[in-house]
């Protein structure tokens, strides 16, 4: 269990050759690449749980009843895997082919600067064509990012990997 303390304690590991300044520098390089060079933008529709009027029993809502915070653009490094060619019925009828899952990496620093948080169930929009935006929902918000993969030389977590799966327009269709 993570113990959040009111006072901050500096991280001193790797202190002989890596510190907070180096960490920020590395982050700066990475963000320059991700946000400057790649500039792949997703839109975060973070659901306002308090204002969304849900069903009393099941806490379900229709797509037009979802209330969300102002959408925020995030510059990320993303991957969309090919979707499966599937059928709704087991006997091979009623085929559907949707987008595959989306996985994107985002710097925590960017989220902090934009004062937003990605949580389980939020919706992510990605403009697949000039006139079309596709929506995914967050199935893994990547809030735990202190593993080796998401830290800079094991110093501190820098990036978050967020996994999303597609949503039907019946569930969410943006603005």
């Amino acid at each position: 269990m993570e113990n959040n303390r009111p006072n901050k304690v500096p991280i001193t590991r790797l202190t002989k050759f890596f510190d907070d300044i180096d960490f920020d520098l590395e982050i700066g390089f990475g963000r320059e690449y991700m946000e400057g060079d790649l500039n792949m933008i997703v839109v975060l529709y973070s659901v306002d749980i308090e204002k969304t009027d849900t069903d009393d029993v099941y806490k379900e809502v229709n797509s037009q009843d979802i209330r969300f915070f102002p959408p925020i653009e995030l510059q990320v490094n993303l991957e969309i895997v090919p979707g499966d060619n599937q059928t709704y019925n087991a006997n091979g009828t009623l085929r559907f082919r949707d987008y595959g899952n989306m996985t994107f990496n985002v710097y925590q620093k960017q989220l902090e600067e934009k004062q937003c948080e990605i949580k389980y169930g939020d919706y992510i929009g990605y403009r697949v064509k000039e006139d079309s935006m596709k929506f995914w929902t967050v199935v893994n918000d990547g809030k735990i990012f202190s593993d080796n993969e998401h830290t800079v030389f094991g110093y501190k977590g820098a990036t978050r990997t967020v996994e999303c799966t597609t949503v039907d327009p019946n569930e969410f269709e943006g603005i």
Partner: protein, 375 residues
């Protein structure tokens, strides 16, 4: 003021038919459906059509003010697209909620006890006698039909949605409709039960990192029967024939008519006696000619009698020649030719005979008898 007890709120002005009256009503419905005197045939397509109608019209569900579409799905891909394209999103995927109907291709023999194996060999039964009139005759055509073949059609009705509320709503509709386990559909005038066999769940809730939705599967069995109109038989039965007779007031009765209404008229006899007189030097055993006689009536000679003359019908010992022999001349006696009885004579004929007198000293004669007729 309260409503008094036993107060009827609704009066049943047209009570439903029962027993025989209801059976006749069903029969009439069958005739109305086909527009003929025989029940309309039922095939698999008809049953599929009316099952879809049952789901679309009677078990209809609306979500957010929109009627949930129903798709009857077969194997053809383009047909599937043709049915669903109106309900797809911009990615051409069908939007939930929706209902799919898939019929199991393997149709089984029916389990409805009404139409189980009772009559072998496709025997046909008289169904109805239909009067007909072809302009000349009035008759009946007998319509014969075989016993229907009971079949069971199994349908998988699946309801797809994202919300528990929607699945509750559809499930409630199904439960209320199949409260008595079965619901009847009327297919071409025939009533078939649809039995709710089972309710299953195929939801994809366990797909944690994939698209998730609810799927509820209702397996229904339509216990129907097939009646192929090609197997109906129409055979002609009784015909009433109108026969007309043309009659005349004066009828000449035929000679052999013996009925009491037209008694045989009395015949007028006609006799001819041909005489031979003794001649000098004529001896017995010699044949002599009689006198000639000119006929003055049309008559049919049938018999003869002899007087003092021998009768030899064929040549034998004691009969040197055949006597008497009648000869007729039609050329005023120039030539004669022998004839045999019966013989028709006409006025103007000359007739004579040859006889063999028994006693050559006495007269001999042969009398031919017959009756006058008109030719």
């Amino acid at each position: 003021m309260g409503i008094p007890k036993n107060f009827l709120k609704n009066l049943n002005l047209k009570p439903a038919s029962r027993n025989h009256e209801r059976r006749m009503e069903l029969w009439q419905e069958g005739m109305d459906a086909s527009g003929t005197f025989v029940p309309k045939g039922v095939l698999y397509e008809d049953m599929d059509r009316d099952f879809i109608k049952l789901i679309e019209e009677e078990l209809v569900i609306s979500v957010e003010g929109k009627e949930v579409p129903v798709f009857f799905l077969t194997m053809q891909r383009w047909a599937e697209f043709a049915r669903t394209w109106k309900f797809t999103d911009k990615d051409r995927n069908v939007q939930m909620p929706f209902i799919t109907i898939v019929r199991n291709p393997d149709i089984q023999f029916g389990t409805n006890p009404v139409t189980q194996y009772t009559i072998p060999q496709k025997r046909r039964f008289d169904y109805m006698k239909v009067p007909n009139y072809d302009g000349d005759t009035v008759g009946y055509d007998v319509y014969r039909i075989p016993q229907p073949i009971g079949v069971n059609l199994t349908y998988q009705v699946r309801f797809f949605c994202y919300r528990m509320r929607e699945i509750n709503k559809f499930n409630k509709i199904i439960m209320q409709a199949f409260q008595s386990r079965q619901k009847y559909i009327k297919c071409n005038g025939h009533y078939f039960p649809v039995v709710l066999e089972s309710i299953g769940d195929e939801s994809t809730i366990d797909q944690f990192e994939q698209k998730r939705f609810y799927v509820q599967n209702f397996e229904m069995q339509l216990q129907g029967y097939i009646m192929d109109e090609e197997e109906y038989e129409v055979t002609p039965a009784i015909k009433r024939v109108v026969t007309l007779f043309e009659t005349e007031p004066n009828i000449i009765p035929s000679r052999n008519q013996t009925d009491n209404l037209n008694p045989e008229p009395e015949l007028e006899e006609y006799n001819i006696e041909l005489l031979w007189e003794p001649e000098i030097g004529f001896s017995s055993g010699v044949i002599g000619k009689t006198n000639s006689f000119i006929i003055d009536q049309s008559a049919l000679l049938t018999t003869y009698t002899l007087n003092n003359a021998r009768e030899c019908l064929e040549i034998s010992e004691g009969c040197a020649s055949v006597t008497p022999v009648i000869s007729v001349s039609i050329d005023d006696g120039a030539t004669f030719s022998a004839v045999t009885l019966p013989f028709q004579i006409l006025p103007g004929y000359v007739i004579e005979a040859t006889v063999e007198p028994i006693d050559a000293t006495l007269d001999a004669s042969v009398t031919y008898r017959g009756y006058i007729n008109v030719i």
